[in-house]
């Protein structure tokens, strides 16, 4: 399966062509090249997935891990950094997810970004992103993963700051980069500890080495999780994701909803066999962090007024669900503990589809009304039928209504949580209810509710062009049927087949909760006047304000950085650096310059003197050696 290398070469090629020659071609041509290369990638991805799963299992019932291509890039004695392509069930699944969403976004952007300055640059960057993300999931070792991990960070930075004339976009891109980089420091230290004690960067190290490494393995894995938490916006490192919505909306759909932000989940899943066997005590903590993040983000999402912010917090919350599911897995035996692993991956898959759909739908709405604020919307169902229906499908899916895909994956997660601990199960069920509530609040405020007549008469919203609605329809279709994929047959914690069976009690509970929440949202937000919502907002003004301001977590970070780190640590260090270190080096520099001036006479361009120096040097060397 050497052709899988094309998955990296094609987008790299299109990035180079568009990046270097983009200014010499028409925007249309650039978009066409980018989209065409994505079509190629999608074909290769699907073909790979088909071949991989059709080839079937090994004799022991496990899907094989194939490494069709491996190149020893930097050998350091026994340790080496390799670059290659690795295929196993989760990487193949991710290939399908990434290429599908990326293709949709490429097509969608043809319409959405039309006429923007820097259209070619945009396509060059998303090609770069696609390459990096594909490289990340097919990485054969943790170091290659880290390299591509940073590359997705860079492309995310570039795309968030795409509108680089807007100060908010610049600030957001910097924030995203710095926060994730900060977390990646943990990842890097984790990798180095791992490499040092295990003697390899491979995902499948020698068991004896792992055992002898002892307590260093949980430490390394925890540090790696810190990196994953940064990328996947886990509390309290989530602060960059809502701001990242300053980027173009299709980018939010691709990077900040479907693919890059789940890299942290993917990382934990990739290291899952090690977590289970050598650091089982770390996993519950991942679950607790995930659960708290899910709760926190759901609470904030209930009161935001910017539709992309709502979706951003909903993404954070849903990634929390995936993390919880991984954290509550207690063994890789699929019959009990491994359920969470499968559920997490399943939810990653379905969530990618319906969340990309939501974001692209939001993009279509923003395209029509030229605003992110809900106050500019309302009653849009009359103007944008396709967007309306597809958005509704996605909302139903994320709320967990049968038979849409979200129902199936969320149900598995809830079942896994109940297996772990009833309290966790009920908490997650409640959060699922909140999810349904805030999504339908969003839905009603956009498509029903109070219409902003003034604005809509001045500028009548109209349905987006086919290039934008087509991806919506395709993603909606996937969302409708994806739940019926026998996911456990393909992806499970130890590679053997896992039979999904819907747990009737859990399913019933979650359905009831979801329906009740939707009903509540309908009651509160569906009409043009919203007395209940207003009363609640005034009655609990403090809570409402706190939630609207994201519980002041950003303020806390600002306080920590500005007041504590900058003032108490950085300022004294800066003083030391400016006066002592710089002073020392300035002195060195001055001495060097002085010396340089003083020995000028050596070079006086008299050949006689040169020969004398030659001889003197020879004799002096001889004398030194004789004495030595």
């Amino acid at each position: 399966m050497e052709y899988t290398l094309l998955l990296l070469i094609l987008p790299l090629f299109s990035f180079l062509v568009l990046g270097l020659l983009g200014n010499y071609m028409k925007p249309k041509v650039a978009g066409f090249i980018g989209t065409l290369s994505l079509v190629g990638i999608t074909i290769v991805s699907y073909f790979t997935a088909y071949n991989y799963f059709a080839a079937g299992r090994n004799a022991d019932g496990v899907f094989p891990t194939l490494i069709p291509y491996n190149w020893e890039w930097l050998p350091f004695g026994k340790l080496s950094i390799d670059m290659g392509v690795m295929l196993d069930p989760i990487s193949v699944m991710m290939l399908v997810v990434i290429s599908t969403i990326s293709l949709m976004v490429h097509i969608y952007s043809l319409g959405y970004m039309k006429g923007e300055t820097g259209f070619q640059r945009y396509y060059a960057f998303i090609s770069l992103f696609t390459m990096s993300m594909l490289g990340l999931v097919v990485a054969t070792n943790i170091f290659q993963m880290y390299i591509f991990w940073e590359l997705v960070g860079v492309s995310s930075y570039l795309l968030i700051g795409f509108y680089y004339t807007k100060p908010a976009a610049i600030a957001a891109s910097k924030k995203a980069f710095i926060v994730t980089r900060f977390a990646d420091l943990g990842f890097l230290i984790g990798i180095l500890i791992y490499g040092f004690y295990v003697g390899t960067f491979s995902f499948t190290p020698d068991t004896a080495r792992l055992i002898s490494a002892g307590a260093m393995i949980p430490l390394a894995l925890s540090l790696m999780f810190v990196g994953g938490a940064g990328k996947s916006a886990m509390f309290p490192l989530h602060i960059w994701l809502p701001d990242a919505m300053e980027g173009p909306t299709p980018v939010s759909a691709l990077i900040h909803a479907a693919t890059m932000v789940v890299a942290g989940v993917f990382l934990v899943a990739r290291m899952f066999p090690l977590f289970i066997d050598f650091a089982p005590e770390v996993l519950p903590w991942i679950a607790y962090i995930g659960a708290f993040t899910a709760l926190y983000a759901a609470a904030v999402a209930c009161v935001q007024s910017d539709i992309k912010r709502v979706l951003a917090f909903s993404t954070i919350s849903q990634i929390g669900f995936m993390m919880v599911a991984l954290g509550v897995s207690t063994s890789i035996d699929p019959n009990n503990g491994g359920l969470g692993y499968m559920a997490s991956m399943f939810h990653l898959f379905t969530h990618a589809m319906f969340k990309a759909l939501l974001f692209l739908g939001a993009g279509s709405i923003i395209h029509a009304v030229h605003s992110n604020e809900m106050s500019a919307m309302g009653g849009l169902r009359r103007y944008m039928p396709v967007t309306h229906i597809t958005f509704l499908i996605a909302c139903l899916a994320i709320a967990g209504i049968w038979p849409l895909s979200g129902f199936f994956s969320k149900d598995e997660i809830l079942a896994a949580c109940f297996n772990f601990n009833p309290l966790m199960g009920w908490t997650m069920t409640a959060i699922a209810g909140m999810t349904a509530f805030y999504m339908f609040r969003l839905y009603y405020c956009i498509f029903w509710g109070k219409e902003n007549k003034e604005l809509h008469e001045a500028h009548t919203p109209k349905e987006s062009p086919l290039s934008m609605t087509l991806p919506l329809i395709i993603l909606a279709a996937i969302t409708c049927v994806a739940g019926f994929i026998p996911f456990g047959k393909f992806v499970s914690s130890n590679g053997t087949a896992y039979h999904i069976h819907i747990d009737a009690t859990t399913a019933a509970i979650s359905l009831v909760v979801a329906v009740c929440s939707i009903a509540l949202a309908t009651l509160v937000y569906a009409r043009s006047k919203q007395p209940i919502a207003d009363t609640l907002a005034t009655r609990f003004a403090g809570l409402h304000k706190a939630a609207y301001n994201r519980f002041y977590i950003d303020k806390v970070w600002i306080f920590i950085t500005k007041q504590i780190i900058f003032r108490c640590i950085s300022t004294p260090i800066a003083w030391f650096d400016k006066h002592i270190i710089d002073g020392f080096f300035n002195m060195c520099g001055k001495c060097t310059a002085y010396l340089s001036k003083k020995i000028k006479w050596l070079q006086d361009s008299h050949i006689q003197h040169y020969c004398i120096w030659f001889l003197a040097g020879t004799v002096l060397l001889t004398i030194i050696l004789l004495i030595f």
Partner: protein, 472 residues
């Protein structure tokens, strides 16, 4: 008959001699107005010579007088490559009115020095070694004097040849002392008989000094700046890159093969020379305004870094030495190529002339910057890896202090390399170098160099290849 078959086994040297002869015949037969054809002919022939003999082989001939190890044969290809870069850069200069009639001479002379270097590298006997050394040096003096109507060119050549004579004298004196001590000139015969007595120390220092002249190590370096400044820029490039590469390898061969028993003494000697060379080279480079003089001192300090490889054990040291040479050749030839291009178009060679170069000739400025970054050893360019490997080679043998001092010196070198970058990118000038287009030869040469600077660092297999050549 036997000797003749042996003779034919020297494929690389013979190939070069054939190229030389063809160029010589071209020079005789081509009419005046078709002389320009010699540029492509020379380049193509050299490429063919490289490709035909690119597979490294182990050849031992003439009773052990000539021994071309696989790594030596790889180095020969590298030197040919460096010469090729110089050939590509020389067209504008040679097509000028005052040198048009002697295009053929340039090629004949530079090919002869290359042949000399080839013999120097694969000699296993001091007589052959000396012949190679002289064959490499004498035509080089002619090349330096090529622009003889420019007064500096003549002066530079005079200094070079006088200095070369002096150092040859010292070298021969050393060889004769060695012969007196052991009664043989074969490297293999001498080695086991050495044990480090006073006479042998004297011989080693003298032989070292003779070669140190070619490498321009301090204090045997004083000719360098004057010569580089006066010589045609292309020749300066060859002197600093190709000739230095050959001399460094030859020196390492002698130190390992002949003076292997005196490794402690030679290491002490090298340590002293390394520290002095790098420091003095750097201190002088800071002050230079003329780009050619600047590169002369930069090449002196680079020679010090090359010497670090000789402190390593024979395998690691030689591999890192050859790797350093390749990387150094591409970066240095790129810098000299740009200096040459600008000099040919505008006649300007001062650093302040380079102010604002990025605004008028962005591509040249970019290539120059990358080449200087590589020379300074900034990752991820090739120069970082080559420096790293020579440091590692010396470090593994326990020369911590030398490595530390060399590392400190990289800071100084970074400073003066960045001075040039600053001039090109940040400083503005009222009278910048006008925008101009280079010819295709120059472009190819710069592209090849640029490719080398970028690729040799990332493609780690190159060092591995050298290492494997040494181990097998």
């Amino acid at each position: 008959m036997e000797n003749l078959t042996q003779f034919f086994q020297m494929r690389q040297e013979l190939g070069l001699i054939v190229v030389f002869l063809i160029m010589f015949i071209c020079d005789l037969l081509l009419p005046e107005n078709h002389r320009k054809l010699m540029h492509p002919i020379a380049c193509i022939l050299l490429v063919v010579q490289m490709l035909v003999t690119i597979v490294p082989t182990d050849i031992n001939l003439f009773g052990g007088m000539y021994h071309s190890t696989p790594i030596a044969s790889a180095l020969k290809t590298i030197l040919s490559f460096g010469t090729l870069l110089a050939f590509l850069q020389c067209t504008d200069w040679l097509n000028r009115e005052d040198s048009k009639h002697k295009i053929g001479e340039f090629y004949s002379l530079s090919l002869s020095t290359l042949i000399g270097m080839y013999f120097m590298i694969s000699a296993n006997h001091f007589l052959l070694f000396f012949l190679g050394l002289e064959l490499a040096t004498v035509p080089m003096a002619c090349l330096i004097a090529f622009d003889k109507y420019k007064e500096h060119s003549g002066e530079a050549a005079a200094k070079f040849i006088l200095y070369a004579l002096f150092s040859s004298g010292i070298f021969l004196y050393g060889v004769s002392l060695l012969y007196g001590a052991v009664g043989s000139l074969y490297f293999d015969d001498i080695a086991p008989l050495l044990h480090g007595c006073e006479l042998q120390i004297l011989a080693m220092v003298f032989i070292f000094a003779g070669l140190a002249f070619k490498l321009s190590l301090v204090p045997f370096h004083l000719w360098t700046a004057d010569t580089y400044q006066g010589a045609p820029t292309v020749v300066g490039g060859m002197l600093s890159a190709v000739s230095k590469g050959a001399a460094a390898f030859a020196l390492m061969t002698i130190l390992v093969k002949v003076f292997g028993n005196m490794v402690e003494l030679s290491s002490t000697m090298l340590s002293i020379i390394i520290v002095v060379t790098i420091t003095v080279g750097n201190l002088f480079a800071i002050r230079q305004q003329n780009m050619k003089r600047f590169m002369a001192f930069s090449s002196i300090s680079q020679a010090g870094y090359i010497l670090l490889a000789m402190l390593g054990n024979p395998t690691q040291g030689t591999a890192s030495l050859v790797y350093y040479i390749v990387v150094y050749i591409v970066a240095n030839m790129a810098v000299f190529g740009i200096i040459n291009a600008i000099e040919q178009k505008t006649g300007r060679v001062l650093r302040e002339d380079y102010k604002g170069l990025y605004a008028t000739n962005p591509k040249l400025a970019l290539v120059m910057t990358l080449a200087l970054f590589s020379l300074a050893g900034i990752p991820p360019f090739a120069g970082f890896f080559s420096k790293f490997l020579v440091f590692a080679a010396a470090f593994n043998q326990g020369f911590y202090l030398v490595v530390l001092l060399a590392l400190l010196n990289t800071v100084i070198s970074l400073y003066y390399y960045l001075l040039v970058v600053k001039a090109m990118f940040i400083d503005s000038s009222e009278n910048p170098i006008p925008t101009f287009k280079s010819n295709w030869f120059m472009r190819i040469s710069l592209l090849l160099s640029l490719g080398g600077i970028l690729a040799f660092g990332l493609v780690s297999c190159l060092y591995q290849t050298f290492n494997n050549l040494l181990i097998n």
